[in-house]
Amino acid sequence: MDELYRDYILDHYKRPRNFGRLEPHDLEWHDHNPLCGDDLGVHLLVEDGRIADLRFHGQGCAISQAAASIASQELIGMTLDEVSALSAEWMIDLLGIDISPTRRKCALLSLKVMRGATTGDASWPTGSADD
């Protein structure tokens, strides 16, 4: 088996969870990875400061799309404060594969979009879980 394109990565890429749109929604954000043209948006429903539901939408490489799908399962139920505290390493650890520097932005695009929607911060996620 390929060390990057593992079964579960390809499974999430081909059958992404929580993909589509939510109408109506409370929060939304959209961004892209200029390097390879990955494109991702998110719609969020928020209840009592928690993410009640979400949908990602867009297109991109297997890593960016699988990352969004895998992250979506963790993000539903989190408080907005918890989402804003998530680091880049949280996302990389969650993916469970070795990410080369050239693919890092692919892996982090979904977290970037989530942070944009919840905090308005449009910067790339940084930092380790201990920051």
Partner: protein
């Protein structure tokens, strides 16, 4: 010179030391020459020899060494100019094609474009032939217009004629060869029509000079820009061939040393052409290296280079359609295109294709290729792209086909 024989082609490969490299135990297959070409030993030696034996600043020193450096640089310019059928005095060395185009946008565009004027480019331009015109048009209140690209990846001369007939186009700037589609545009015809409508013309020859027998005088463009590093030369050196009367009427682009005749407290007078447009110490070793690159290409014969690229492109087009789910972009006729093939594979993003090809030691490009407007026109976020030069072989194409089959297997297609 006759066609390149198999033996000669094997010798050509051996001229490029990097191609001896292995990756994961396999011979490296380099299919990204449209991004930058590999360099023959003669170019590497020319740069190395220059620094080891001849380095001095040019155009100043009276000592022999400085004269030698100046001669090497200016002789390189003369050969580079002749290689493209142009005159040395109106062949300006820049950092790259992007700087050459910016030179025109700043030194010609700012002084000749007014509100309501139009700059006409096409949807298949590289960002380097889009963004300088966007900046210029924003500054001057001019309008940037685009010629559309057909589903076959070609431009329409009828559409060109219709836009020119409206009478507002002051500049037409078009790629000679598309870096994504491979399309060879009919630039001589485009230039003739633009001139007939009173417009100045710029041709971006970055993808053409490396692989076609380019005759700038025959094309007739007012400005012809290209870059050295795609034509077997070093990075950091580009070329602008331009019509003398335009260069004489233009103010300098950058101010500094070497480009002046005399400097007074409040004003200066300009050096003669081409040095008026070469401020500061030039990329001397790079100019010398580019001279060696055009010598190498001339010795091969550009008709042979073109024949080799055409044959390889035709073979790649033929083999690529064997891959299920593969979509090709650009003209299907190898006579109508240069040595670049863009494609998409159903179910696999180009970035993943390039990553999996790399595992097989095959270097291809994935992304928007600095042509985002074209990607939008084609309705894809990105493509994968294989491009060829003299050192590539049919076996390289076979290795790409193998790697694409592996890619489909990994993605369980």
């Amino acid at each position: 010179m006759g066609p390149l024989t198999t033996q000669r082609m094997a010798a050509v490969r051996a001229d490029f030391p990097l191609l001896a490299r292995e990756q994961n135990g396999r011979r490296l297959v380099y299919l990204d020459s449209a991004a930058t070409s590999q360099k023959p030993q003669s170019v590497i030696d020319a740069i190395s020899d220059y620094y080891r034996h001849s380095n001095a600043n040019i155009h100043r020193g009276v000592y022999s060494l400085a004269r030698e450096a100046t001669d090497l640089y200016e002789n390189a310019r003369a050969r580079v100019a002749a290689f493209c059928g142009w005159d040395a005095a109106t062949t300006i060395f820049t950092r790259n094609a992007t700087e050459a185009i910016n030179l025109v946008a700043y030194a010609w565009g700012r002084h000749n474009l007014a509100a309501g004027d139009e700059v006409l480019i096409s949807h298949m331009e590289h960002h380097s032939n889009i963004v300088p015109w966007q900046l210029l048009c924003q500054e001057r209140g001019a309008r940037l217009r685009y010629l559309s690209v057909s589903s076959e990846g070609t431009l329409s001369l009828d559409e060109l004629a219709a836009v020119l007939a409206e009478g507002r186009v002051k500049l037409v700037a078009i790629a000679h060869v598309s870096n994504v589609l491979g399309t060879i545009n009919p630039v001589a015809e485009i230039v003739a029509r633009a001139r007939g409508a009173g417009a100045v013309t710029l041709v971006d020859g970055s993808q053409a000079v490396p692989q076609l027998d380019v005759d700038v005088a025959g094309i007739g463009a007012d400005f012809y820009a290209w870059t050295g590093h795609k034509a077997l030369g070093p990075t950091g050196i580009g070329v602008l061939h331009a019509r003398r009367e335009l260069l004489e009427s233009m103010p300098p682009f950058l101010g500094g040393g070497d480009m002046i005749s005399a400097v007074d407290f409040d004003s200066s007078t300009w050096n003669e052409l081409p040095w008026k447009f070469e401020a500061g110490t030039s990329a001397i070793a790079e100019g010398v290296g580019l001279g060696a690159a055009v010598d190498y290409l001339s010795a091969l014969g550009m008709e042979n280079v073109r024949r080799h690229e055409r044959t390889l492109t035709a073979y790649a087009l033929e083999r690529l359609v064997e891959i299920p789910g593969l979509r090709l972009f650009g003209p299907r006729d190898a006579d109508a295109r240069g040595g670049v093939v863009s494609f998409a594979l159903a179910g696999v993003h180009p970035h993943d294709i390039a990553e999996l090809c790399d595992r097989e030691a095959v270097c291809i490009r994935a992304g928007h290729h600095c042509a985002q407007p074209l990607m939008r026109r084609m309705g894809v976020p990105a493509t994968a792209r294989a491009s060829f030069h003299v050192y590539n072989t049919r076996e390289d194409v076979d290795r790409l086909i193998e790697a694409l089959a592996t890619t489909r297997a990994v993605f369980e297609l």
